[in-house]
């Protein structure tokens, strides 16, 4: 089975991919706590897993086109609306290939940035903080 092309893995916000995205990441982390007891008298620390959390980050070019390659996408305006909203944002980190696995859940957009350099394409970047679990789902 070939390695998945990063081009195909995308962040879907409320069901649609972010338009003209150039990069996206899903960061998962887990707090680790050290367990010390009177029965643990050795020199080696013992640890247990604690709370898990996740963050998604994205970068791309600003577009006002709501449809790219016949696919409905999130525009810069949609991203702002998602940021401005108090509602939870459904996300998917997926290549949308049947039988592959995607990661889904709910999130809050914690950061959104627009960049506009002279004589270059305008860019955006942002972060989604996951609230609740990240679900591993097989794509139907």
């Amino acid at each position: 089975m070939p390695v998945i092309d990063g081009t195909d893995l995308r962040i879907y916000v409320n069901g649609n991919p972010i338009g003209h995205a150039t990069s996206c990441t899903l960061d998962l982390s887990k707090e680790i706590r050290e367990t010390v007891s009177k029965d643990n008298v050795g020199n080696w620390a013992e640890k247990e897993g604690g709370q898990k959390s996740a963050t998604l980050q994205f970068e791309g070019f600003v577009t006002n086109d709501a449809t790219l390659n016949s696919v409905t996408v999130n525009t810069a305006e949609d991203l702002f609306d998602a940021f401005d909203s108090d509602s939870l944002i459904a996300f998917a980190f997926s290549d949308k290939v049947s039988t592959n696995v995607e990661y889904t859940g709910n999130s809050i957009m914690s950061a959104l940035s627009f960049g506009a350099p002279v004589n270059e394409n305008a860019t955006h970047s942002g972060s989604l903080e996951v609230t609740g679990p990240v679900n591993k789902v097989t794509i139907p």
Binding site: D8, H20, A21, G60, F61, L68, V73, N119, N121
Partner: protein
């Protein structure tokens, strides 16, 4: 598409009486014709600045080079100044292309043309189509 984007340069030069008079209409795409009166100016595309996204490639403008040929350095410099002053930062509506912006990039002296005793100045410009027609 490159010729189309280059037509922005053509219109910018053609529509400026001072420049057009200074070069006596000798403004050519890509190649300097063998039998031509000097001074003469040639424009050609250097690169197509493309950025890749998850939705496919998008344009970030096209880079063009303008070559100025003249029998003496003063004439070549004068034409270079006229071109630079006109296209330093120019927004214009080009027929069948749309709203374009031309911006000046750089200028340098090139090696004189061997056998023709011609002075040669090179300039770089970027052309961006802001709103396609």
């Amino acid at each position: 598409m490159s010729v189309a984007a280059g037509s922005a340069l053509y219109h910018a030069v053609k529509d400026n009486t001072d420049i057009w008079t200074a070069i006596n209409g000798s403004f050519y795409p890509n190649v300097l014709p063998e039998y031509v009166t000097y001074p003469a100016v040639v424009w050609g595309q250097l690169t197509d600045d493309i950025e890749t996204t998850k939705d496919g490639p998008i344009e970030n403008g096209k880079l063009f080079q303008i070559d100025i040929y003249a029998a003496d350095y003063t004439t070549a410099q004068n034409i270079a100044s006229l071109l630079k002053n006109k296209m330093m930062w120019l927004t214009l509506d080009v027929p069948s292309l749309g709203l374009c912006r031309i911006s000046y990039g750089d200028q340098g002296d090139a090696t004189p043309v061997e056998g023709k005793e011609l002075l040669h100045i090179i300039q770089d410009y970027r052309v961006r189509v802001k709103a396609p027609a």
